[in-house]
Amino acid sequence: MKTGLRLFLVDDNPADVGLTREALATSPRHSAIESVADGTEAMAFLECKGKYASAERPDVVILDLSLPKKSGLSVLAAMKDAPKLRGIPVVIFSTSQLNDDVLRSYEMGASCYVSKPGNLADFFAAVKSIEEFWCDRVRLPRQGE
């Protein structure tokens, strides 16, 4: 098993961020988790602007759709428009199960779409699977491309 990912979590619900961190707390992979609560902060982080000047490029972005200031889909669009960010896989992690949201996410370049499960056990399993898959199985383009 490989050592952990740099995960970037964009979610405005602190309870869900808490649950995600809980889910990964016991993971042997020791992924590093950064999180922000709105779309504008997300872009600032990814573009290393202002207080995020020394932020490290994440390996995977876990993105909620309903965000204040800048929506998840516009963050996704901005990422795919930026040559330096385009290669970072984005996992949409959202409560919405609307097919429109799913379709739009794929159309705009999300790698996959996971809807947040309603119960604790499934939520934990989903988060752990996301980490396991993207950390152990997938080869990711590293720095700078």
């Binding site: 309870a15 649950l19 809980e22 409560t95 947040k116 309603g118 119960n119 604790l120």
Partner: protein, 393 residues
Amino acid sequence: MSSAGVKLALVTPAPKAQLRVLLLEDNQLDAELVLRALRKGGWDVTARVVQDEAAFTLALRTYSPEIVLADFNLPSWTGMAALDVLRSETPDIPMILVSGALGDVTAVECIKRGVTDYVLKDGLARLPEAVRRALEENHQHALRRQAEENLARKVEELARSNADLEQFAYVASHDLQEPLRMVAAYTQLLSERYVGKLDENADKFLGYASEGALRMQVLIQDLLAFSRVGRSGTPGAKVDCNAVMQDVLKTLGPAVEESGAIVTCSELPVVWGERTQIAQVLQNLIGNAIKFRGTEPPRISVQAEKEESHWLFRVADNGIGIPAESVDNIFVVFQRLHGRTEYAGNGIGLAICKKIVERYGGRIWVESQVGGGSTFKFTLPLQPPDQPEEGKP
């Protein structure tokens, strides 16, 4: 003026009823005769007499007659032209043509065009009764129109209120899910993290809180499913029930296997509706048949036959049956016949079936005996609504 020797079988209004007349007549004597005939017939008449279009139109607007009596032919105008003006100004006021000899053909034409009646000038004795009848007819029309309008308004209100309720149920269930998810997740986390580490009351309390939250989640999901039945929005289409059965049996696969159930199915028809909803009905009924089984493995049969105005579907099982007094209220939302520990579920499955079936204009009911199995029956229309009868389904 006496009508010597002629017995008039008139139904006169008594005591004298008031009548406000607009009389279109250029001949003064004829006008007099008309008014006298009315008075003789028991009417207390006030009248305005006009001869041309301008005066007529003005009178309609300012005089508010209850009835118009018009000559057929005037020097510069006609009774039928007056009728047109009447129809466009005050269509609710009836008109009686009072005229010299009219051929039968003309008379019928006039009535077809909207004149309520016609009376010959040499038969004015008939006039009071004709007026009474015209007013009565008008009154009845007005009443009926009013009733129809009331009904239409009530229907619209009901539809709006229904739509509001459904919207409310949907929004409430949908929006309730989020905070509930938080409560459920964190009470569970608390439970797991701190069980055994606080005092034993804490364990119990946490357990109850968790359990309550989880139950609420399921309840809300069920409510959401129920409220969605009306608002799905996908248009209907031809649905092959045999294909639907395949899907349903696949979905129920684990339950079928676990219970050893045998499900037989006769040739089912193609119906009109939404595939997911029809599947939901079959799935709920067959799922129930499996769930509420007796000591033997469930044997379930699904059949359909064509009756004069609908398809009659039958889902029969050999399960525990339903007591006679409960056959109606099992279809009520959240109504359950058994305790939570005996059989799982919220009691919404049948309510959903009923809502779906009734949405298509069908009925659902059950024939059952305790210990003797149940047969659920439901009907679906033969052809889609508002469509001409097709040759084959």
